[in-house]
Subunit: 337 residues, 2 copies
């Protein structure tokens, strides 16, 4: 079985965007508005259509079986509005993910976004973790290291403010993918520099922290191939050594996993060469950041299975770990044969 | 000849740090203080000693000939104080670089830091560019894309506010290395995530801007191997294509160069494989971010010449371009045989 651990519902019916625009309109009149959760009315057929013509079609075309599926990352928009805005929006988004997974139980497994909000204590997101995992069978969550949307004015992931989230993750035995949302800072391009910078930043915050000492069972996924990390593996190894930390293999790689959202053969080859196989999880981010076909290869840029298939170094057994075994170990609540 | 295009004066005599501490003390009493430029009294012998035992010794040990040398990047500290603070500090730092280069004219060539300051119009830095290039024979400058020190609350490099700098760079025929300074934001580790994130961010800002259309002769160096860029070359190519931009080869690689500050063999091999040879400039950042010896290779992490020597793909002619030819083309004011 081939499991893609990083897919987003980027093709939601238009009612979802309309709900969000209504939220923004209310906030423009009163930024502190609590508002109401309201409803997003979408039929099962509309959901089926939004999936069958997109993610499901591409799964079949590319030969993957199951996508671990979460709300559209760039739309989490934790910086928009206040904690109520985020709470309502997040509940709707997670409920939609649940409906997709119930409609296509063999093709999608659910991961939650969290109702983070700038300046709001991260522990307030614990209730949504519990709701989605315990009541709705979600198998993981996405944790935003910068809910400000590119202003980076909150606490780093090493801060004890995040500890209630880590504690509950361990208790529920779920991993978190560290994933920022859309940038509202003109300095950062959302799916380019913001995503990749945040990946590198999150890794750096964690490796020089006490987080993995305090939570030895914590499972963290750094997406987009780990940002700049594998390419600069020597720099990170050297910084750790210079500053008196234990080697990354001991201090970080028991807890940190990298996905394979790297969109060219040589980048994937580097990732597979540098990072131990047991720390790599297959992912494509499909349908996501890059949607076109690479004129050099004739393949979709984000068809990362193709790059792994073409890698000349790893054994089939290693590739099977990346495609399935490692993912089942990390997403231990996944229960699909 | 082997030219290292990225070295910093990280080993200044203690008087330099003392001057800076005095500035900070005055600012703690009055953040708006203009203060006075004052003096930093250092003898030629003290400068010789600080260089001979450090950068010069390592040049000789590693077999490099010339370092293009600028003030310590992490100490530029543009976020500290106000425009006067930065102006005085920058002039002293650049004057010290000039003294090093005059004492060791065969081993060092000078590059300037700029007196940037948060909220201050970048065009105010033009005078220091002119002073250092026209009066002191500097051959380039370092441009900080985030003078706030990790808060990213200024204009991106695509903003016309930077155009007076680009205009003067073209007129003087000097390149700029895009280089942030120390982070004062707890989210970012200076020499890890902040440097690498800024490199990626700067590249992203420029490739989707009009800067190279408006300044076709502009020469920009992205340090630290381009941050995450070569590893994610497919993502950037795909984003450009999806958003209707011309391919990077046409739109960016006539203006952007990458240095080789990547501290492991496989990272360097990827850089040399992905980026056209004519866009790569040899650099080590020595003495800089990582100072230790890699226990796996027995070599200094930052001995990047060693990795290029060991690369099995490029020809000697290509390596010669990276070590010298490309650097002489980009730093066209360099005048050492």
């Amino acid at each position: 079985m081939i499991i893609d651990c990083h897919g987003h519902y980027t093709t939601t019916p238009v009612q979802v965007g309309e709900y969000r625009e209504n939220q923004k309109r209310a906030l423009s009149k009163d930024p502190l508005t609590k508002g109401k959760k309201g409803r997003i009315i979408i039929s099962d057929d509309e959901i089926r259509e939004s999936i069958e013509n997109n993610q499901l079609r591409l799964q079949q075309e590319r030969g993957t079986d199951l996508t671990i599926f979460s709300p559209r990352a760039s739309w989490m928009g934790h910086h928009i509005g206040n904690e109520h805005t985020s709470q309502y929006w997040t509940e709707h988004q997670n409920n939609l993910i649940k409906r997709v997974c119930d409609l296509f139980p063999n093709n999608f497994a659910p991961v939650a976004q969290l109702p983070q909000s700038p300046g709001v204590d991260p522990k307030k997101s614990v209730a949504e973790m519990v709701r989605t995992v315990e009541e709705m069978d979600f198998i993981g969550c996405n944790l935003n290291p910068d809910p400000s949307g590119g202003h980076w004015n909150g606490a780093p992931l090493s801060d004890p403010a995040f500890y209630p989230i880590y504690e509950k993750m361990c208790e529920l035995d779920i991993p978190a993918m560290i994933h920022v949302s859309g940038s509202c800072n003109d300095n950062f391009h959302t799916t380019g520099s913001h995503y990749l910078g945040a990946d590198t930043t999150a890794f750096q915050q964690l490796i020089m922290s006490n987080v993995f000492k305090d939570f030895p069972e914590l499972k963290i996924i750094i997406p987009h191939g780990g940002g700049a990390v594998p390419y600069h593996w020597g720099r990170f190894r050297g910084l750790m050594q210079d500053q008196g930390y234990e080697p990354l293999e001991v201090s970080a790689l028991k807890n940190i996993y990298f996905d394979t959202c790297v969109y060219h053969q040589k980048g994937i080859d580097l990732l597979l060469d540098i990072i131990p196989t047991e720390n790599i999880l297959f992912a494509s981010e499909m349908i996501g950041a890059v949607r076109g076909v690479d004129p050099e290869s004739g393949q979709y840029f984000d068809d990362t299975k193709h790059y792994i298939d073409n890698n000349q170094t790893l054994s089939e057994a290693d590739k099977s770990l990346i495609f399935e075994g490692n993912i089942r170990r990390v997403f231990s609540r996944l229960n699909i044969d």
